[in-house]
Symmetry: C2
Subunit: 265 residues, 2 copies
DNA sequence: CCGACTTTGTGAATCTGTGCACAAAGGCGT
DNA sequence: ACGCCTTTGTGCACAGATTCACAAAGTCGG
């Protein structure tokens, strides 16, 4: 399976342009009809759904690379990522044409391409606000510390926590927020505080110049235009599980039913 | 705004049937062409996208209820949940017709209906495996402990952690897994272990009879048919943020375009 | 050097989700 | 009591995502 048929450096890369618009024949006229969201322009060149899956592929690719696999076919990679192989290929095609027909994809090369497109070939300085259990978990979570992100600092307001060391960092007081953002040129702020203080922290992050915020607190933050907020709710998936579990136990047969099409009354 | 115009107990509820198939005229014949996923049948009656938003609405509703709001219009609730109001109304319409035209929705009543449909009117016994920072964070996370879920036990393999108390629970050794599942009739297993041991833990959960698994470990679990696995990757959203941030800094001018939309002042 | 075989990349068809816009419903003021 | 005004519920059209299925491209054995 690892026949190593690829040229050592995969000569397909122009090496200069980097941008290299996709070689596919699509017209990608999406320019004028882009999906303006609240925050500002979202994906123009690459579908949002694809972007959301690229990290999954990346993770799968790292796993393969660690196991010494050098080449992978879309079928295998798709299985490792838990998606349909056609979807995988279409997703990757948005990045360019980096596969070799009859062979597959070079793992290292694809890691590089996906990383580059996600913007992970540079290091993003990340600030974590809230050094409770969640903040500590994040600081140690593989993928937060790994390639592409560097935790610049962790802040907390609790004097009992300030000064303690977490993942090689000393927790600083939240009063330092503005100074830390400026000093480390923080690009992404992570809010891991209780819900009560999240909006205030967010406001401070924004006025300090942070334009990307990852929110773990269970509330919807309001931010000015131009700031990109994403929310992770640890319990949403749990609730979705509950729904499906319930439906399995209740609805096994009840739901069915030919309830007539009754086009309209 | 809180004119309290509703009958105290919203006499619209039949009170018995509970199931009460949606009053809308849609044919919802989706039976034979449902979106079979890997895990098994997913939503048949309610779109998956809607299900994923119900927890968000629920959270917003709780927030309103705490602030003493008794009635809310779709516009307000949508704003609180961060979605479009038409989408909110359409989502809620899948549950039944629980609004009052000209007035809005009764907050408490809607909380009940959404909870019921999500399966949160019963208590789900949840087992958390892995009592590291993430496990501890989960045990304390509002929404995990709140209405609908009860943490039956926390397990870990580290002797230094076993025996410690977290959120009123004593951490037990992971060897107890099967016994705990049986004793508490655990329905949902949460995997908060390192990636290395996640698959083994998952296998044990499944053979102990757990059919719903929430996975926080950064790998794709493989499970037999009939088991529902959902995955939360704490770093995916971070990577998506990085993508957008990069696109903003790179494409600053490329996107340009006569930003004349200025919909309203 | 050629032909068989593998696997990519993508058109085309289908399915799912979104949002506008409006008729129907129902409370409220006079 | 009646009409006005607000807000729901939803038909419809469009936009986006998924999947199939296959031609094009490139490898590898003989």
């Amino acid at each position: 399976m690892q026949s190593n048929v690829l040229p050592p450096d995969a000569g397909h890369e122009p090496g200069n342009g980097e941008q290299m618009l996709p070689a596919n024949g699509e017209q990608l006229n999406g320019e004028q009809l882009n999906g303006e969201h609240v925050n500002g322009g979202h994906a123009i060149g690459i579908p949002e759904a694809t972007i959301a899956r690229l990290p999954v592929y990346l993770r799968a690719l790292y796993g393969l690379a660690e196991r010494g696999v050098s080449t992978v076919a879309s079928e295998e990679l798709a299985a490792a990522a838990g998606v349909n192989s056609a979807k995988l290929r279409k997703d990757l095609s948005h990045l360019g044409s980096y596969g070799i027909r009859g062979v597959g994809y070079d793992v290292d090369y694809l890691v590089y391409q996906v990383s580059r497109r996600l913007g992970l070939t540079q290091d993003w300085p990340v600030l974590i606000v809230g050094a409770g259990n969640l903040g500590r978990a994040l600081a140690n979570y593989g993928g937060f510390v790994s390639r592409g992100f560097r935790i610049s600092a962790m802040l907390d307001s609790d004097p009992a926590i300030v000064g303690s060391r977490i993942a090689k960092l000393t927790v600083q007081h939240v009063d330092e927020l503005e100074a830390v953002v400026a000093r480390h040129k923080v690009a992404i702020g992570v809010i891991a505080t209780p819900a009560g203080t999240a909006q205030a922290v967010c406001d401070r992050l924004v006025s300090a110049g942070v334009t990307s915020v990852l929110n773990f607190a269970p509330l919807v933050l309001s931010v000015p235009e131009g700031v990109d907020v994403r929310k992770v709710d640890l319990s949403i998936e749990l609730q979705i599980l509950a729904f499906h579990a319930q439906r399995r136990s209740v609805g096994a047969r009840a739901v069915n039913g030919h309830l007539a099409q009754a086009a309209e009354a």
